[in-house]
Subunit: 230 residues, 2 copies
DNA sequence: TCTATATCGATAAATATATATCGATAAGTT
DNA sequence: AACTTATCGATATATATTTATCGATATAGA
C-alpha cells in the first residue's frame, strides 16, 4: 500500500537511483567476461550490498528474474539504461569552462549515459572561440537563444557560486528543463524543473570526518557533552 | 538510547556530514556580508532544509547557540571546520592525471578544506615530468616509497576502473590511511582505513530519472506491473 | 517589570530506507 | 520422479533519518 502503486506519486528513492549506475557498471564488467546471467546475491557480494536491497533496486526497472538463476545480464543492463533514459541521447549545454567544466568536456563516455554536450559557454573573452576537447566555447550571450532553437533540455552548470543563479536563469529562459549543478550554491528554479546539485566536498566531508575518527583526532560526541553547560 | 552516547560506536550519519560543507559555504557568504549571528531557521530557509534538521546537524560539531538569537557565524564556521578536521592541513597524493585528476590539481581551494596535494602520479611516460597546474607528475613507481617517507595520509584516486585496486594497493603499502576514490569501481582496503568513493553518475542517474518523469517519458511503476505475468 | 516571541536543545513521532523472512519456482541431484 | 537448493518476488520487521513537539531561555517591547 505504498505510494508506488497508489497513483500519482513517484516513489523510487534517490538512494535506489544512485545505486543503479554502479550496478550497470559492474554488469558491464560481467558482460565483458561473457557472463550471461547474474543473481542479486552475486551483485551484492561484489558491491558489498545486501542482496534484498539489490533486488528491490532492480525491481524498479521492471526487470523480471528467474528463481534459482537470476537475471539475464544483457537484459538487466538494458533495463537499467532504459529506466534512466540513457538509451536515447539528450543534448546538453555546459556553462563554465573552468577546471570542472573542462574535465566534463573531456569525458568522452557521456554518450553511454544518454548525454551529448553540444556546446560550451563562458563569459571569459580569452576562452570564447577556443576549442576545448573538441567543443568550441561560445559566448554566454548566445546561450538562451541557442538553447531555445536547439530544444536543449539539459544544462550543466560549472560556474563559480556567485554566477550560478544568473546562469541558471539564462538556462531556464532558454527552455532547459534539467540542470546538473556543480556550483557550490543552491539554485532556484520554477516548478516542474529538475535540479541535481553536486557538491564535491560533501563526500570529502565524510572522508575527513572518518579520517579524524580513525586517527583519533576527534573526541566522540558523548565526551563533548559538557560543552553544553554554561 | 542511541549509539551516539552508548560508548564505542561513532554515530554521526553520513547524511549529516554531507550537509556540513553546504552550511559552511553559506555561512561564509553570510560572514562576507558582515552577519554576526544566524539561526537554524534562517539557514534552513536559505538551503531549503528543515530547521530542526539543521540544528541537529550543527549539534554534532559541539556548537552552542543562544535562544532567540542563534549561533555566532564565525564560531559556527570554525566549529564545522574543526569538526571535519579542515583547520589543519593534510598532505595528499593524487594518482591519475586524466581529466578528473587534472581538474582536481587545478582546484586551488583545497587548502580551505584541510587538503594539500603535494604530488601527482601517473604511469603515462608522456605525462611524467610535466607540470600540471604547478604539480610535477611523478612516476607511479615512486608512490609507495614517497608516501611512506612523507607520511602522507590521504590518496586521491583518479584512475580508470581497471587500475583502481592496484593503485589503491600501492597507496595502502605506502601507509596512506584514507582514499578519495573517483574511479568507478569499489576498492578493497584493510580494516581501519577510510574509503570515500565518488560516483559522478549516481547524481546524474537521479537527474536522468527525474527528467524522464517530468517529460512523461517513463511509465509509472504501477503501469509496469503486468510485465510480471508470464 | 512583565509579557510576547523567536530560538535553542531535547525528545517524541513520522517517514523513509534497509534487512530479514517466507512461500513459490526453476534447475540441478539423487 | 521426488528431493534439494538457490533464487525470486512480496511482505514484514528493523533501523535510520527526518520532522514535529515541548519546555527552557534570551531578547525585545509594552
Amino acid at each position: 500500500m505504498m505510494a508506488s502503486v497508489t497513483g500519482t506519486g513517484e516513489s523510487v528513492s534517490a538512494a535506489s537511483l544512485r545505486r543503479l549506475p554502479s550496478y550497470r557498471q559492474y554488469l558491464k564488467v560481467l558482460q565483458g567476461m561473457g557472463r550471461e546471467v547474474v543473481s542479486c546475491s552475486h551483485i551484492g557480494q561484489a558491491l558489498k550490498l545486501n542482496p534484498t536491497q539489490v533486488r528491490k533496486d532492480l525491481a524498479v526497472t521492471g526487470i523480471v528474474g528467474r528463481p534459482k538463476v537470476g537475471y539475464e545480464t544483457e537484459a538487466l543492463i538494458e533495463a537499467i539504461e532504459s529506466f534512466l533514459g540513457w538509451n536515447n541521447l539528450n543534448q546538453a549545454f555546459l556553462v563554465g569552462v573552468g577546471s570542472m567544466g573542462t574535465a566534463l568536456l573531456g569525458y568522452d563516455q557521456f554518450n553511454h549515459y544518454g548525454l551529448k554536450i553540444v556546446a560550451a559557454f563562458d563569459n571569459n573573452p580569452s576562452l570564447i572561440g577556443q576549442k576545448i576537447h573538441g567543443h568550441e566555447v561560445l559566448s554566454l550571450d548566445k546561450l538562451t537563444d541557442l538553447a531555445a532553437r536547439m530544444h536543449v533540455l539539459v544544462g550543466i552548470l560549472t560556474v563559480p557560486a556567485q554566477a550560478a543563479q544568473s546562469v541558471a536563469n539564462l538556462m531556464i529562459f532558454g527552455g532547459i528543463r534539467a540542470i546538473w549543478n556543480f556550483a557550490p550554491a543552491p539554485i532556484e528554479v520554477p516548478e516542474g524543473m529538475v535540479v541535481q546539485t553536486e557538491d564535491l566536498f560533501s563526500g570529502f566531508a565524510v572522508l575527513s570526518s572518518r579520517l579524524a575518527e580513525v586517527m583519533g583526532i576527534r573526541r566522540k560526541a558523548g565526551v563533548n557533552a559538557d560543552a553544553n553547560r554554561r
